[in-house]
């Protein structure tokens, strides 16, 4: 291998390592602008395709800038059959604008995330959610209130 080839290989390796580390390593968390950390009571309704009431807990465990992550644990009750099911999974979202909260709930029982978009007023977020897989949709409304300390 010639000298120029060696230096080219080194540059290529360096760029590769930097690129890989940029991809894999998270940027250091920034100060949170939201102060959403903590537990929130989640209540909601699925209106489509079947009516279902949703109750549970939203836990925000990590914040950085306008972004946050956490988990959502729900119990869904079919309004007609009263059959219950457990929905749990991770949550990842951000604040858009001044008062809009936008997050995805990746629930274990579902193939596509439920996108929640709502407005935050004091310690209450109200809004709508929707998920869509190949054109088949599920949607509803939600309300989350911070648990009293």
């Amino acid at each position: 291998m010639s000298r120029s080839q060696k230096s080219g290989a080194r540059i290529f390796a360096l760029v590769g390592v930097l690129s890989l580390s940029a991809c894999l390593k998270s940027t250091e968390p920034q100060p949170s602008l939201l102060q959403l950390n903590g537990s929130w009571n989640y209540t909601g309704v699925q209106t489509v395709p079947v009516q279902e009431t949703l109750t549970g807990t939203l836990i925000i465990s990590r914040e950085s800038g306008t972004s946050f992550q956490g988990q959502l644990n729900l119990v869904g009750v079919n309004s007609q059959t009263q059959q219950q099911r457990i929905l749990s999974g991770s949550v990842s979202g951000s604040e858009s604008g001044t008062d809009v909260i936008d997050f995805d709930a990746n629930l274990a029982a579902e193939t596509t995330p439920r996108r929640h978009v709502g407005q935050i007023v004091a310690d209450t977020i109200t809004g709508t959610w929707v998920s869509s897989a190949d054109g088949a949709m599920a949607s509803g409304t939600f309300r989350v209130e911070r648990e009293p300390k």
Binding site: C23, L24, K25, S26, T27, E28, P29, Q30, T47, V48, P49, V50, S61, R62, S64, G65, T66, S67, Q69, G70, Q71, N73, I86, S88, G89, S90, V91, S92, S94, S96, G97, T98, D99, V100, D102, A108, R115, V117, G118, Q119, T126, G127, T128, V130, S132, D134, G135, A136, M137, S139, G140, T141, R143
Partner: protein, 501 residues
Amino acid sequence: MRTGPESNEELRVTHAPGGSDAFARATNEILANVSERLSSRANVSASAWRTTDATSVFSGLQSNGFSLRPQYAIRSGTTIAIEARSYTFDATSRATASNSGGGFGSRDDQLGISFSTYLRQYYFNSSAFLGNTTRSVSLGTSSTVTDRSPRNYWTTNAGWSGVGGIIEVQARIDQTRDRGGFVNQQNMFGIRAEQLVLPGLGGIRGEGDLQRVSSFGGENATIMRAGIAIPLMSGFAFKIDAERNSIFRSVSGRVPWILGARFEHALTVPMLRTPGTSGYVYEDLNGNQRRDPNEPGMPGAIVRRGGETAVADASGKYRVGGDAKQPISIDEASLPDGWSASGAGRGDLSVSLSTAAEVELVVAPRSGISPIQVDLSKAHVVARDSVGAEWAAIMTGPTTATFQALPVGSYKLEFDLSELSEPLVPRGPIPLLIVTGKDSKSITITLDPRPIRMWNGSPGRSGAQKNDSLPVKKTPVTTPKKNDSPSGDETPVATPNQNHS
């Protein structure tokens, strides 16, 4: 929809006024799927769709998408594919007492590569996709905010699948960078078993999942699920499941085991269909008028019963309505050249390839005497098939009797020579006329003159020729209907000299 061995095309347009509130997929939906085989190793599939909907929560829900996937078979059982896909979604929510309504949307664009292979009962699939997600939100007093971030993932599964169950190893890395600078990377590694026969436990099957999800919100999660299915009498099974998901916590903060038990019984529910008769239109290769295992269907054949019409599918299967008491006939115009229907029926209907056949008649010279001249134009030659039906030939030459269209099969030849000027006898044994395909068949039959017996002076004896020693069977040739069509009309006979009794 158009389905063929090399291509499939489907276009579906649906309008359901109630939309998803009335349990439809959407109010309006248009979907197109295309799959084309480009060569023995390459094919391409594409799809595109658009839906619009409205619900009590959303005044507008729209989604559009497409995917394009060329695929190449490296060798048998091993394929590699490239896939491009794009998906757009927009929602407009209605205003409520606590929410002023607004809209949000998203767009996903991805390009990926997939590899898939199997060897006997082992399989391996892997795919990697690079792309980005664009999101927009416009709620309340906020102006529209748009955010674009990369989204990449790699997923792999490998396993064994057989009558003893399925064992599979799974891995997935999902990576998204959000506006705050996080790289939301979720790694999942898992192993699962399904319908796994547990040795020495009398047919009890086990199943389970073990998944480890890491780098999610700075926390790790382990999901465990295990269960067994115990077969009982009459197809019933008793199932016990236990699941523990470290994401799901009880009020006390504990991660509980969730137990479940249930009885299950699988039922096969017949499809509700309109009254009708189904069967196959098949190629009767051996002429026995029964569908044998090696006899293929005749796709595209049109069958009729009364005013009802149906077309046989790619396997030759048809289903036709109408009065079940009436027979079903095949429209011979729908058959390829040379093929004809064997008759009307109610289940499987046979078609067979018709072939011209000739019987050459040769008059043997009388031994020791000069050759004889006989006009054979009044000879009648009949072929009798395996079920006893008669097929008549016409004299197309001085010594040639021709069957213009005989279905495939074996025929016993019979001769009526009673109208000839000279008494002749077919020389035995008379060979079978075997019709096997499109090529014309020819067979030669020697006709022997009756020996002349000379008068020897004995009283009571005549010196003239006698016919009483001729074993010729006279077969009446009629022209009945070939098919017993339901309308009572006579189905056209392919050749006017065919008789099918």
